[in-house]
Amino acid sequence: MSGYSILVDTSKCTACRGCQVACKEWNQLPGTATKNTGSHENPKDLSSDTYKIVRFTEGSGAKGNAFWHFFTEQCRQCLSPGCMSEVENDEIVIDEKTGAVVYTPKTKDLNFKATVEGCPYNIPRRNPKTKVLAKCTFCNDRIKTGMLPACVKACPTGAMTFGKREEILAAAAKRVSELKKTFPKAVALNPDDVRVIYILKDDPKTYWKYASGK
């Protein structure tokens, strides 16, 4: 049973943030109060109201030329989730059919600190009122009924695709080998460990500090 995967080909991402908004829309999450602090990136972090953010990282490359990298951050839906280290009572379960890592209401009883520390990508967040933990759901409710995840559906450029895991793995390998011709550092991040597989053109650290794990 291999379930599904999402491919995030960041070489095609233009940071339109359609995915960020679509995620809020489907999950009925509120817009939070934000301020411009000198970056287009907003909100500033994941929270129980925000399961997905486009990270904007800019700098100068080797020749002094500017780069601007976009990394649409979300739960990687690990095959062996580090966030489950504290699980004793099905607080977090894996949907056998889709592969989604599902946080149940029982996560309010989990040790939050240990759960976050267990996640290589710093994803889980806690609802300050209910104490329930929250993150990207893989749109498990959608994919089980044959729909695309909301973020994939919203992506206009083809940067995000969804499919059977083995198909996505093949597509990722093919795309990386194409990109390597122009970008020798092109890489798919941890494809053997995660379901949400990112393709980058450059060093992961130039995208987001937790792009390839802590």
């Binding site: 070489s11 339109c16 809020k24 509120p30 934000t34 800019e58 500017a66």
Partner: protein
């Protein structure tokens, strides 16, 4: 767009310049990515490294307002290195035409300039003609008075050194762009341009686009799949509203607004119907009277008769030379000459250049009707910043209207596709569709004219208005059919019989004798006896080029790529056999709807030249119709950072109108405003933000106005990233969050270092509360001499830390 969105996917080289497609037309990038799958290159040229630049194969920067220099250098490169498509240029453009003896260019001015009128006598730009009146040509292109040779002479001045000094773009980077783009001059390659307001909103806006049109013609990129000159329209239906004459100088379908000197319909038709001397020119506008009479029949129905000039005399006329475009309207309003104003689906208090002047103008009105889906800075101007409600006499009416998804109708996208859409839900509360508001207004006016008389009731009383259903509601199907047009009598045309009341199948059947109506000849064929063509949703794509000819409908007559008869050689075979758009099979054209069914050019008896909308039948490399010159020439923006124009002694465009009122200050090369400023939009907000600033997810993502600036400039001004700063111009000031970025770099222009900043115009004081105000408070009210579009993309500002810090 000469082409359409999907067609971008057919391109081999995509230049994004004068636009930031990834941010403002996000879905267009789907087709850019598609093109890259077959190896296409994406070039981004922008003062700032943008979301488009981030995914481009090559990026370089230029100073705002220097596009003609940049593109002029490319024209020079193409000609000098013989990268142009000679067969195309010689046969389909006016490059082989010979100019008359009076045409000249020196010191930055073309022949015929009158400094008092600030205008040209364009008769000096005429071609040399033979005894029949046909322009003389030299197919070898060698004659020194051919358009091509004069073009070469004109642009030889745009050397890499000169261009680099003006644009601030390093010479080697210019060369890279020129090489990449000029590679599309071969028959098997196509290059396209995606531009928007970054090119139009300048005092040389039209000539920016002319420069690119010349490049596209030289490279043989017009009429072919993956080519064209593609304006990315800024609103989902701006193409539709332009087609249906939202502008003052045109009637529907780009017919001309009549002038007072054309007293009769005959005068009017004579004035605007071009004559062709060459029998091989199709001269499509020769059909003008068929379209104007059919429009009048649509306006006035049975009341329009041959004897009364089909009601021509009932319509308002502009005075000769009168210009009623935006900047003039608001200047007139500011001077107290306009008493009432409908702000319908717009927000001029934020969208208008020099918004302080706009806001003060609104206070001079007696009444203002604000038709919109939300409150905005225009309707609430009287309680805005710096306003004293007690002193403002303007009475404001708010009419809530339906949003797009709350009504049925057509929407025409940038690619000229008119797509029908259905109503999703009812409008909330008292909100009503625009058509219903207009209908009630019209019927009420007519009732009042009937009862009370008035100065000139005839046009209102005679206007045909039968676009309502049984319940008295506006019926968009009835209007769509009216736009298409009807036969008004039983007639036989071209061997086909039609009955009175039949829908006209295409504009080829429209008549000038009053037996047909059409509210817009260009849309004739959109709603026919076969049904609502705009509502079609069939997906066959026999050419494989993404034309999708049975999906919706596009003008004219469902032709998906304009000037497509230039996509083939003289024998009718596609220049590029791998992308056959149309092809002559010996009897007829197959593929896209051709620009006329005449046989290819090798049939010298029956053919017509491919550029059928031009009186001579040839595309204009030399464009003698524009107000500011037949060739583009670099002039500095009205406000600029340099003391002189490096190209000539003519500093700014010599034909622009400069307003001289108290609200129209301009400072050039002034130490108080040493930084180039520009404005733009962001993905998250739409236009002035009127629709998006109420949307919590979008406000969360892009909450407040910012000003982007280089690290060097921030250092000079002692500004740190994220702190509050003030941006000022001669006309206003805006508080912003400083966004210090490596994506803006200072420009090295010869010995000068010039800084530039940019800020979005999508915010306003009404909502959200701490979002900030519009960047248009800074922009100048000066326009292009052809279109009067304001120069909001290049002006001068200063940036300072806000007193007392953030």
């Amino acid at each position: 767009m000469t082409n359409h969105w999907i067609d971008i996917g057919n391109s081999d080289c995509i230049l994004v310049m004068g636009s930031n497609a990834a941010a403002n037309h996000p879905i267009s990038m789907k087709w850019v990515m598609k093109a890259r799958e077959h190896g296409a290159k994406l070039i981004s040229v922008d003062p700032r490294f943008t979301r488009t630049s981030a995914v481009a194969d090559y990026y370089t920067a230029l100073r705002s307002g220097s596009d003609i220099a940049f593109l002029g250098g490319m024209i020079n490169y193409i000609l000098e290195n013989k990268k142009y498509h000679k067969e195309y240029v010689a046969n389909y453009t006016n490059a082989a035409f010979i100019l008359g003896d009076k045409y000249d260019f020196s010191q930055g001015l073309f022949a015929g300039y009158d400094p008092k009128k600030r205008a040209y006598d364009k008769s000096l730009w005429a071609f040399k003609r033979d005894s029949k009146g046909i322009p003389q040509k030299d197919a070898t292109l060698e004659n020194p008075r051919t358009v091509l040779q004069l073009l070469k002479k004109h642009f030889a001045r745009y050397t890499p050194e000169k261009v680099s000094e003006i644009t601030g773009t390093p010479q080697e980077e210019l060369k890279t762009v020129y090489e990449m783009y000029a590679s599309t001059g071969t028959k098997d390659r196509a290059g396209t341009i995606m531009y928007a307001m970054g090119w139009t909103q300048h005092t040389v806006g039209v000539q920016n686009i002319r420069s690119m049109a010349i490049i596209q013609l030289l490279l043989g990129n017009i009429g072919i799949p993956g080519g064209g000159v593609n304006a990315l329209r800024g609103e989902s239906n701006v193409q539709g509203s332009t087609d249906h004459c939202i502008l003052f100088h045109i009637w529907p379908g780009y017919l001309k607004t009549p002038r007072a000197s054309s007293a009769t319909l005959d005068d009017y038709n004579k004035k605007f119907t071009p004559k062709a001397s060459d029998p091989l020119s199709a001269n499509w506008w020769g059909n003008y009277p068929k379209y104007s009479v059919s429009l009048l029949k649509s306006f006035f129905g049975d009341k329009a008769t041959k004897d009364n000039g089909f009601g021509y005399s009932w319509l308002p006329k502009l005075d000769d030379g009168q210009n009623c475009s935006w900047l003039n309207l608001f200047d007139s309003m500011y001077n107290g000459n306009i008493k009432g104003f409908f702000a319908w689906g717009q927000n001029p208090a934020c969208s208008g250049a020099n918004s302080n002047k706009v806001r003060k103008s609104l206070a001079k009105l007696d009444w203002l009707v604000n038709v919109n889906i939300f409150d905005n800075e225009t309707g609430s101007f009287w309680k805005g910043p710096g306003m004293d409600p007690k002193k403002i006499k303007t009475e404001v009416f708010m009419l809530p209207c339906a949003a797009s998804m709350e009504k049925e109708g057509s929407i025409t996208n940038s690619g000229r596709w008119a797509q029908w859409r259905y109503k999703a839900c009812n409008p909330p509360g008292d909100a009503r569709p625009d058509g219903d508001i207009l209908t009630e207004l019209m019927l009420k006016l007519r009732e009042m004219y009937k009862k009370e008389g008035g100065k000139f009731p005839t046009p209102i009383l005679n206007l045909k208005w039968d676009y309502v259903n049984d319940k008295g509601e506006f019926d968009s199907h009835k209007m769509a059919k009216e736009i298409n047009g009807y036969f008004l009598a039983d007639v036989e045309i071209k061997g086909k019989k039609f009955k009175k009341g039949d829908l006209v199948p295409s504009f080829a059947f429209l008549k000038a004798d009053g037996t047909t109506s059409s509210a817009n000849w260009l849309y004739c064929n959109s709603y026919t006896g076969k049904g609502n063509m705009m509502a079609r949703r069939n997906k066959p794509d026999p050419t494989g080029l993404g034309l999708f000819s049975e999906w919706a409908w596009c003008w004219p007559v469902n032709r998906r790529i304009l000037y497509n008869r230039a996509s083939v050689d003289l024998a009718g075979n596609p220049w590029n056999a791998k992308r056959p758009l149309i092809k002559w099979n010996g009897k007829k054209w197959v593929g896209d709807v051709p620009d006329g069914g005449w046989p290819p050019m090798t049939n010298k008896e029956k053919t017509k030249y491919p550029f059928i909308m031009k009186p001579e039948g040839f595309a204009n490399v030399f464009g003698p119709g524009l107000n500011d010159g037949p060739f583009p020439e670099h002039y500095e923006p009205l406000e600029c950072p340099v003391p002189e124009n490096a190209m000539s002694k003519q500093f700014v465009n010599p034909t622009i109108k400069i307003f001289k009122g108290e609200m129209d200050k301009h400072f050039t090369c002034d130490p108080r405003y040493p930084i180039v400023g520009t404005t733009y939009r962001v993905t998250e907000h739409w236009q002035t933000g009127l629709m998006t600033r109420w949307q919590p997810w979008l406000v969360e993502a892009e909450p407040q106005i910012f000003v982007e600036m280089s690290e060097d400039l921030a250092k000079l001004r002692g500004i740190t990233n994220g702190e509050k700063v003030k941006v000022t111009s001669a006309r206003g000031e805006v508080e912003c969050t400083a966004m210090v970025t490596t994506r803006f770099r200072p420009f090295k222009m010869g010995k000068l270092t010039v800084h530039q900043v940019g800020l979005p115009w999508c915010f306003g004081w009404v909502a959200p509360k701490d979002g900030g105000d519009s960047a248009n408070l800074l922009t100048p009210s000066v326009g292009d001499p052809n279109t009067m579009i304001p120069e909001t993309k290049a002006f001068m500002v200063n940036v300072q830390k806000l007193k007392g810090g953030a």
